[in-house]
Symmetry: C2
Subunit: 157 residues, 2 copies
DNA sequence: GTCGCTGCAAAGTCTTTGCAGAGAG
DNA sequence: CTCTCTGCAAAGACTTTGCAGCGAC
């Protein structure tokens, strides 16, 4: 009966597609396709997690030690990707943002305050209701985000 | 037909009540009731807006110029109030948090991306649905927040 | 009086920017 | 070749902390 969909493990967008979109985006804006930019996109894609700029930088240094990627480039590329709506950022209580690939289907987040784990979900009913509310208040909706905080299944044990 | 409630202009909690709660809280933890702490609470109460630590500090300097309140004290007091669940903090896209008195009824936020204005609202249907979702996923919900981004009525004109 | 609180300034984080050399187109 | 990118380090923005004197209780 539930229409909740969780955890988008079945990647709906193939990496090749993503990369191609990225290249088109760059070309359109006369920007250059560099190894750093590719590596950042790839690392973001491979990781199902929500990454902070720093953790992303760490992952890159681990996986591509020969490439001396600076943290500044990570920030710059994330900003670029976010501007182009290819990634989405989330700001939770703590300081700093977390980024995730935004090409996936829209979804909301359930955040465990004990282990910090993030579960994604989508609920049609809420989505619809949000649209109605915005409409009733004369608000032209462009985006929304919802977070539920609490203790996850695992941490309850 | 709508069950949306917006903008809590009718203050549900009187300041004297709030102040008294605060004093009890302080006493319980053998903390001291100082002018700075009172002024911070009062300013937060008087302003219906969502304040950043800096804007709160500004307001205090304006309204109580004789009191040399340091920004550090504002941060310290906000942290104390947040720990005690007397205020709630919101983190949006930009950096920094915004604080609001949390003694008010629970509500969500609709944020205008043009003028930055925040409208509060509550919708029963969404609240209920959130509880169900959490339950279905074996998640013990402690809190949640929802933001809708878009262009408000005024800015559309 | 005691012990927590405050303002100040210094130190921390996290993020952005300036610049000269490297590299994509 | 040109013009954007990159890494580095320095600068910024925001927040926290150490400390000596102040003030609530």
């Amino acid at each position: 009966m539930s229409n909740i969909i969780t955890n988008f493990n079945d990647k709906t967008v193939k990496y090749t597609q993503l990369l191609s979109d990225f290249k088109i985006l760059l070309k359109k804006n006369s920007l250059k396709f560099t190894i750093q930019r590719e590596v950042i996109l790839e690392t973001l894609y491979k990781s199902d997690k929500h990454l902070t700029p720093e953790s992303l930088h760490h992952l890159i240094k681990e996986n591509f030690p020969e490439l001396k990627t600076g943290i500044a480039t990570v920030y710059r590329t994330l900003a670029l990707l976010e501007d182009s709506d290819m990634v989405t950022s989330l700001s939770f209580g703590a300081q700093g943002k977390k980024y995730e690939l935004g090409a996936k289907e829209h979804h909301d987040h359930m955040i465990c305050t004990t282990c910090g784990d993030i579960t994604e979900f989508v609920d049609e009913e809420i989505e619809n209701r949000q649209d109605s509310i915005a409409h009733e208040l004369g608000f032209e909706i462009s985006d929304h985000s919802m977070q539920i905080y609490g203790i996850c299944k695992n941490c309850k044990n």
